[in-house]
C-alpha cells in the first residue's frame, strides 16, 4: 500500500508544479502586471489554439513528417557509422573529433546555408534534422558496443563463433539500452530541428507558421504553436519509450519465485 501511494505522489508532483506555473502566469496577465499584448493569458492561448486548430494541424503534419524522415535517416546513418567505427578503431580515431565538431556548429548558422544549397523544399529541413539527430544515437551505439562484456565475447570465441555472430548475439543486444537513450534525446531534437529550418525559408510547417504569427505580433498564436511543438516532441519521446519496451521484453521479466525450484 505504501508503495502505491508513493507512486501516486510521484506522478502528482510534476502535475502540481505545472499547474502552479500556469496559475502564476494567469495571475500576471490578468492582473495587468504584464500588459496583455506582451503576454497573453492562458485562456487567450487556448482560444487561439482552438480557433486555428485545422491550420495548426496541417502545418504540424508537415513538420512531423520532416522530423520523422530525418530521424529515421539519422538513425540509419548513426547505425552504419557506429558499426564501422566499432569494427575499425582507426575509423573512430579519424572521425570522432570531426563528428564532435559538427555538433558545435550552431544549427541556426547552417540552416540558411542549407536553404541556399538545397532550395526551399523539404531537403534542407530533413538534412538539418539528420545533422542534429545522428550524433546522440551514434555515440550511444558506440558506447553500447563497447559495453559488451569481453568475457561473453571470449565465451563465444571458444564456441568458434565468427565476428558476425558475436555482433548479433552479444554486441548488438548490449548496445540496445544505449541506443534508446540516444534515440530519446534525438527525438526531442528532431521536431525542434525541423521547426528551426522552416524559419529560414519554406512554405509550410510549424516554423513557417511561427514566422508568420510573429510578424503579425499575434502572441497568443505564438504561444499556441509553442505548446503544440512541446506536445508533439513529448509524444515522439513517448513513442520511443514504447518502442524500447517492445524491443527489450526481458527488462520487464520479474523473478518468478514459484518457478525457481530452489
Amino acid at each position: 500500500m505504501k508503495r502505491k501511494s508513493e507512486s501516486i505522489r510521484n506522478k502528482l508532483l510534476p502535475v502540481l508544479t505545472f499547474c502552479l506555473i500556469l496559475l502564476i502566469w494567469w495571475g500576471l496577465s490578468v492582473s495587468g502586471v504584464i500588459p496583455g499584448y506582451m503576454l497573453p493569458s492562458p485562456a487567450d492561448v487556448i482560444r487561439a489554439f482552438v480557433r486555428d486548430f485545422p491550420n495548426l494541424m496541417q502545418h504540424a503534419w508537415v513538420s512531423l513528417e520532416e522530423a520523422l524522415i530525418g530521424l529515421v535517416a539519422g538513425t540509419l546513418l548513426a547505425f552504419g557509422l557506429a558499426c564501422a567505427m566499432d569494427r575499425f578503431e582507426s575509423l573512430e580515431k579519424a572521425f570522432m573529433p570531426l563528428l564532435v565538431v559538427t555538433q558545435t556548429i550552431p544549427t541556426i548558422a547552417i540552416a540558411p546555408l542549407l536553404v541556399l544549397w538545397m532550395g526551399f523544399g523539404v531537403a534542407p529541413k530533413i538534412t538539418l534534422v539528420i545533422v542534429t539527430t545522428f550524433f546522440p544515437i551514434a555515440v550511444g551505439l558506440l558506447d553500447g558496443f563497447k559495453s559488451a562484456d569481453p568475457d561473453s565475447v571470449n565465451l563465444l570465441l571458444s564456441m568458434n563463433a565468427d565476428r558476425w555472430q558475436i555482433f548479433w548475439v552479444v554486441k548488438f543486444p548490449a548496445a540496445l539500452p544505449y541506443f534508446f537513450s540516444g534515440l530519446r534525446i534525438s527525438a526531442s531534437y528532431a521536431v525542434v530541428g525541423a521547426v528551426i529550418s522552416e524559419w529560414l525559408g519554406g512554405f509550410e510547417g510549424l516554423g513557417v507558421y511561427m514566422t508568420r504569427v510573429r510578424k503579425a505580433y499575434a502572441f497568443d498564436k505564438m504561444f499556441a504553436v509553442i505548446f503544440l511543438i512541446i506536445i508533439v516532441s513529448l509524444l515522439l519521446m513517448r513513442l520511443v519509450t514504447l518502442l524500447r519496451a517492445v524491443s527489450m521484453p526481458w527488462l520487464r521479466a520479474r523473478p518468478a519465485h514459484e518457478k525457481k525450484g530452489e
Binding site: S158, N160, P173, A253, P255, A256, K259, K260, E262
Partner: protein, 246 residues
Amino acid sequence: MALLRTENISIAFDGRQILRDISVSLEEGELVSLLGLSGSGKSTLLNIISGLLPPDAGRVFLEEEEITGRPGHVSYMLQKDLLLEHKRIIDNVCLPLTLRGTKRRQAHREAGQYFDQFGLSGTERLYPAQLSGGMRQRAALLRTYLSSRKIVLLDEPFSALDMITKGQMHEWYLDVMHRVHLTTLLITHDVNEAILLSDRVCLLTGSPGEIRHVIRIEAPWDQRKDFELTPEFLSYKQQIMGLLRS
C-alpha cells in the same frame, strides 16, 4: 587413452614466465582439479586449453588429436555464468548449437531433453534475471555441456555462491556428471572443493606456476556426500595445506 592431455605447456607475458611445463592428462569420466593460489596462472591455462590463447611452447590434445590454439573443441564455464540477459534460458542453453547452424527448433528439442537431468525443468521460457544464482550456474553448465559433450573446463564455477547453495551445487554436480558421463577439469582455489569433487588434485604452485604434486583422492563418488566430515578428508586437507605452504 587420455581424453584430454596437455604436453609441457609454457607461456610468458611481457618476459615474465607464468606457466612452465604443465602436463596434465584426464581419463574419460575423471574429475581432475588444478588447485592453486590466486595469480598462479590457473585461468591462463584455461584459455590455452580452450584454444583462445596459443602457448609459447607445448601442445594440447583431445582424443589424441592436436587442438592447440584451435577454439571450438573444449568449452568452459566461469564463476560469472555469462548467460545472455536478452535470451530465454532455452535459447541461452542452445547457443552453442545455433552458432553451429542447427535450426532453432531442432536445437530446442535436442537441449530440452537435458533440462530434467540438470534440474532445470520449468525454466525453459524464463529469462536469466528470473533465476537464482545456483539455477543460473546449472543453465551455464548445460550450455557448456552442449558445446563440448565430452569434456568441460570449470574455472571456480561455484565460488560466488553462498555456502549452503555451494554445498547443494557440489552434490548436484557429482550427480549430473555421472549421469551424462562428463569428464571435468576443475580450476579452483578452494581446498575443500578440490578434495570433495576430485579423483585427482594437481597442485599448481610457485612462480612460474608448475605442477609439483598430484594427490589421488580415494573415495567412491557416491560416498562423497558427507565426505567432508570424515577423518580421511581432514588428512587429505592437512597434506595439501602442508604442500601449499612449503
